[in-house]
Each structure stands twice: as structure tokens, then as C-alpha cells.
Amino acid sequence: MKAIPFDRSVLKVNQTILMTCIAGAYFAGVFWRPAVAALPALALMMLAGAASPRTNLPRLLYARVLKPRHLVRPRVVEEDPAPHRFAQLVGGVFLAAASVAALLGAVGIAWILGWIVAALAFLNFAFDICVGCIMYAQLVRIGLFPLRRRPETT
């Protein structure tokens, strides 16, 4: 069996996009209300990224633009990507809920949910505290996750 090489720089790119887009859209929304449309766009990005690495826009941006131009350095570690994908899913669900709230006219609730995602992204970016990953571990601990062991290869 081999360890999984996982590039943490992809996460940093994702978190940077989230923080800048949410903060930017929030302040732009003061002058231009349709800026709230950033929330469903980011929700889609997060959910697509959680669904498959091939549809993960921050990963593609990192792999095809930022890394080849040496704008972001790789930070490869032996780590399980599953908790991070779960965290991305949680972020996507929060942003989807924010989008629904905005659609129903509850713009305040929408921005609270959006800022929660931005704050969680900052926490992970600056301090490597991944709240979604901790939630994932707790769900594994209480057995809520599908108990499917990967087939062992020789």
C-alpha cells in the first residue's frame, strides 16, 4: 500500500478564492445588490469540487495556472483528502443555504451564512484548523459514515 500524496496548496487556493469573493461580493453588494449572486456561484464551485477532483475549479486553477508559473509553491503531505472534501461539501451546503435565503429575501441570513464560510476558510488558511475535517472525524467516530474499507492491495 502507498501513502496518498496530497497537495495542501490546492486548499489554500480554494480558501483564498472563498475569502476574497465573499468579502468582495459583500462590500460590492452595498452599492450593487446583485453581487449576492456570488453566493450561488461559490456554492456551485464548492459542491462541484466536492463531487470530483476533475470539476474542482480551484484545483484546476492551481494545477494549470498558478503552479506552472511558480506563483504558488506545492506543499505535498501524506494526508487523507477525504476530510477536506467533506469540509468542502459542508461549505458548499452552507453557501447553497445562503443562496436559498437570498432568493427568499432573507439577505441578512444569506450574508451571515456566507461570512461563516469565509471565516472558516480563514481559520483553515491562517491556523490550519479545519472544522469540517473535525466534523468528519466525529462522524466516523460515531459510525455515521459508510463503513467501507478500501480493498487492500499487495
Partner: protein, 140 residues
Amino acid sequence: MILVALAPVIAVAIVGAAALALQAQRAGQRRLVGRRVDLPADLAGAAAPTLLYFTGEACTICHTAQTPALQRLAADAPPYALREVDVAVEPALARRYRVMSLPTTVVVDARGRVAAVNTGYASTERLREQLDEARRAVAA
């Protein structure tokens, strides 16, 4: 409108409170080091250091990296007792060692004191050093 204006403050307060709670939990786990924690009954009184390996079926990195690291350790390290703990099967034991993420490895010396706690993947070399340290602490 007020809710929109206060949205960043409310969100930061919620996330900040959650982060503080997590930090407190992590600090609690670090405080285990040097303390005596009851080992599982099957390991009580072990003469060699004990390595508790907290894992779970859905923990991919446990199967792909941590377990092979432990296999390498078993091949060339001096004797020690290894106990694999599936957190879904033994949640009480996981709570006793304040396990919040997988894998977690805990080195317990022969006196029953926690010598080291590793959250996340721990390399063969790191574990070997911690086991050696646990032996030296008992011999001293």
C-alpha cells in the same frame, strides 16, 4: 438592513467561539501527556511501552499510510505492545484519550503514563523516537 451590516460580526463571533472550543479540546489532549490514564484491561501491567492506534473503517489515511508505518515499526523496533482501537467499536476508549481526529496514536510508558500523543499521521521514525523516549523515562 441591520442584519446585513452585522453579518460579518455575527459570523466571526460564531466561528470564533467554535475555534476557541476546539483549541480548548486540543489543549485538553496535550495535557494528557505525563498523566496516568487507565489502559484497556488487556494491556494493563504491560512491561513494555504501549502504542494505542485509534483508527476507523472510513479513515483512508489510516489504511494507506499509518498502518504501513506501524508495520515498518514492528519490523525493527524493540518490543512494545500495539493496540488498534476502532473508534466506532470502542467509543468510550476514544473519549478517554480525547480522540477528535483519525488517525491518533498515543504512546503510553510501562508505568501507564501517557508519553506522547500524535494527532494525524505519525511517521515510523517519530513513533520509534517516542517509544525510545518512553523506555528511557521509565529506566531513569
